[in-house]
């Protein structure tokens, strides 16, 4: 007979394991399908662990049959471009919202926050019109600009919270007394201390831009400026015999860079979200 504490603990673990399986199985299925032959992928006889029928062909097929290197290149340009540009504007913007008192500060801030919650799809037609007018449709700069703009509010929101709570004002004041002016205090003291939060903001910006479907889909029609996310939609929607293994292989390839990016920045991310400057 188990004592109550042990029994509770066993039940807890059983629950956690069940939940973990529930969460993990779809990912496992994607991985499993991506390394099967097309026939095995759609056959009901293929088991959960089809050890005999594994192949990396779908990955080569993705690379060979579709212009994935190009799509990936576009995705990387777009995601890094949007991340950098949005951070370039979000850092000073967030700092201003957190520290300065200027007329209209609250109204502007709530406008920015509101745009995070605003359903983007409602804006597709006016945005398309504006970008068409500016000759930015079907160009990579156009996509970068669009994504930067839509990532900007979330970055501002994330960073202003950090500047407000994570960096005591006294530290900046100490820097002013030590010999900095407002600008150099910001550059030399605030920015280095904000690295974790900026890392977190960069990660979110990168993920949002990398995964973005809507704006790339709306603003591009040429294959040459298509990103991987939208390309998968076209693979899925192509009228050839649907190749689930190739599709899943492309999904795995699509998910890999953000996961790697997260892995690299994880050390900073927790601190950034925790809102405290790194010790």
């Amino acid at each position: 007979m188990l004592n109550p504490t042990k029994r509770d603990r066993a039940l807890l673990y059983a629950g956690i394991i069940a939940f973990a399986l529930f969460a993990v199985v779809p990912y496992y299925w994607i991985l499993r399908t991506s390394i099967l032959t097309n026939f095995a992928a759609i056959s009901p006889d293929t088991g959960f662990l089809p050890l005999g029928e594994l192949t990396l062909d779908p990955y080569f097929a993705v690379w060979a049959d579709f212009a994935f290197p190009l799509y990936f290149r576009n995705s990387i340009i777009v995601a890094f471009g949007a991340t950098l540009i949005s951070l370039f504007f979000a850092i000073p913007g967030a700092y201003a919202f957190a520290r300065l008192d200027f007329p209209g500060r609250q109204a502007l801030f709530y406008t920015a926050v509101f745009t995070i919650m605003f359903p983007w799809i409602v804006l597709t037609i006016p945005v398309y019109e504006v970008f068409y007018f500016l000759n930015l449709v079907n160009t990579l700069p156009g996509i970068v600009i669009a994504l930067s703009i839509f990532v900007l509010p979330q970055n501002i929101w994330l960073l202003q919270g950090f500047f407000r709570q994570g960096i005591p004002e006294n530290i900046e004041e100490a820097a002013l007394i030590d010999g900095h002016n407002e600008l150099t205090a910001f550059m030399r003291i605030v920015l280095p201390l904000s690295a974790p939060a900026i890392g977190a903001a960069a990660l979110f910006a990168f993920l949002t831009a990398w995964n973005n479907f809507l704006w790339v889909f709306v603003l591009t029609s040429d294959e040459g400026v298509r990103t991987a996310t939208v390309a998968i939609h076209y693979i899925l929607g192509s009228d050839v015999l649907r190749e689930w293994n190739t599709l899943m292989a492309s999904v795995v390839l699509l998910v890999a860079p953000p996961v790697i990016f997260y892995g690299l920045s994880r050390r900073y991310l927790g601190e950034g979200l925790g809102g405290s400057p790194g010790g």
Partner: protein, 388 residues
């Protein structure tokens, strides 16, 4: 060399919620090498004044001069000041050495060797030589406080500014650091402004105490002056712990020059010396007497005594604090520890005339102090607000 003068310094905060006058026409001269403590309740303007001196806050009106030179428009880095913050404000990404050296690196052209020498000298003075290569996060509160003070000392500024530097420490460490800061001040002899809300800290450390309330100067004086001859009721109440007892009384003159202070269940005879110092118009008065000046004495002369009922006796070891009920008002007495009356017991209290303070009931201004037996010189115009 580093005389600091505040000339009608005013600070007004204007924001959407309205206009707040944080500091109003503050006049103050601080001599070279003096240790001045600003004290007052929260929101009295003491920190704002300090921040105006540091340059972190702009000055709405008036002038601040350091060594005779107007510094209103100078940025903090050009003012030759160093400041210690309540939160210490150490740079978390720099080592203790880096924190202490940073100001010298930025604002002087000393070479690394000289900077290092000064950092080590200051570290030695603060007893933090062993911590020089650690980051602030790994230090205790007391150690961080030392580093913050060391960072200020190393600059060898014209003025030190301390903004409640000991508030985040526990009581024992606070007392220890208090002594230490006083020792350092006597060693380096730099003009110092120290802000605190703790009147005990102010009394023990200051050459002169500046008492502020609602942005207005209440009194400037040595610890003894503000204790024995408070300018007004606010100062009398704020300085001293437990705080002074106040009783509303009227003066009955008996025609021979002396008189009796009469209030609810109170009657206290005062000499002609004291009465003589009150002008004829003053009749509504407040009698102030400190808890430590009151004795419980069964055989006290009836014309110099008050009867009250014991509410609570607080034993603190060296003394007892006795809280009594006098006509529905709390009355506090501090007695030696062997005197410990029962609760609900009615006791006879007495005090000497030299410990009596009389205030104007309407304005709160001090009219006469028993100790000096002399009329208080005209109080500064700011003090007429204490009763507002």
């Amino acid at each position: 060399m580093a005389q600091l003068e505040l000339d009608k310094v005013t600070k007004v905060f204007d924001d959407s919620s309205g206009t707040i006058v944080a500091v109003e026409e503050l006049d103050l001269d601080i001599d070279d090498g003096e240790f001045v403590v600003f004290v007052g309740p929260s929101g009295c303007g003491k920190s704002t004044t300090l921040r105006m001196v540091s340059g972190l806050e702009t000055i709405t009106d008036g002038e601040i001069r350091l060594g005779g030179e107007r510094i209103n428009e100078q940025s903090p880095k050009d003012r030759d000041i160093a400041m210690v913050f309540q939160s210490y404000a150490l740079y978390p990404h720099k080592t203790v050495r880096g924190n202490m050296a940073y100001g010298l690196q930025l604002s002087t052209d000393l070479d690394d060797q000289e900077i290092n020498r000064r950092v080590e000298e200051a570290a030695d003075m603060m007893g933090i030589e062993d911590l020089l290569d650690k980051k602030p996060a790994s230090l205790s509160g007391g150690q961080q406080q030392r580093v913050a003070t060391g960072r200020a000392i190393v600059r060898e500024p014209a003025v030190f500014l301390f903004d409640e530097p000991l508030s985040n420490l526990d009581a024992k460490l606070r007392k220890h650091m208090r002594t230490e800061l006083a020792r350092i001040h006597s060693e380096v002899g730099i003009t110092t402004i120290y802000v605190t809300h703790d009147q005990e800290e102010a009394m023990t450390m200051a050459d002169r105490i500046v008492i502020l309330n609602d942005g207005r100067l209440q009194q400037v004086g040595t610890p003894k002056e503000v204790y024995y001859e408070p300018n007004n009721r606010f100062v009398a109440d704020f300085i001293g712990s437990p705080s002074m007892n106040f009783l509303d009384v009227k003066l009955d003159r008996d025609g021979t020059g002396s008189g009796t202070l009469v209030g609810d269940e109170v009657s206290y005879k005062v000499s002609d010396g004291m009465v003589g110092n009150l002008d004829d118009a003053s009749s509504d008065l407040v009698l102030g007497v400190r808890p430590e000046n009151i004795r419980i004495e069964a055989g006290a002369p009836p014309e110099k005594s008050i009867e009250a009922t014991v509410d609570v006796v607080e034993v603190i070891g060296s003394d007892n604090f006795i809280y009594l009920d006098l006509a529905g008002q709390e009355f506090r007495v501090r007695t030696p520890s062997e005197i410990e009356p029962e609760e609900d017991e009615t006791v006879t209290l007495t005090f000497d005339e030299e410990n009596v303070h009389l205030f104007d009931a309407r304005t709160g201004d001090a009219l006469v102090h028993g100790r000096s037996q002399a009329s208080v010189s005209a109080p500064p115009e700011q003090s007429d607000t204490a009763a507002d």
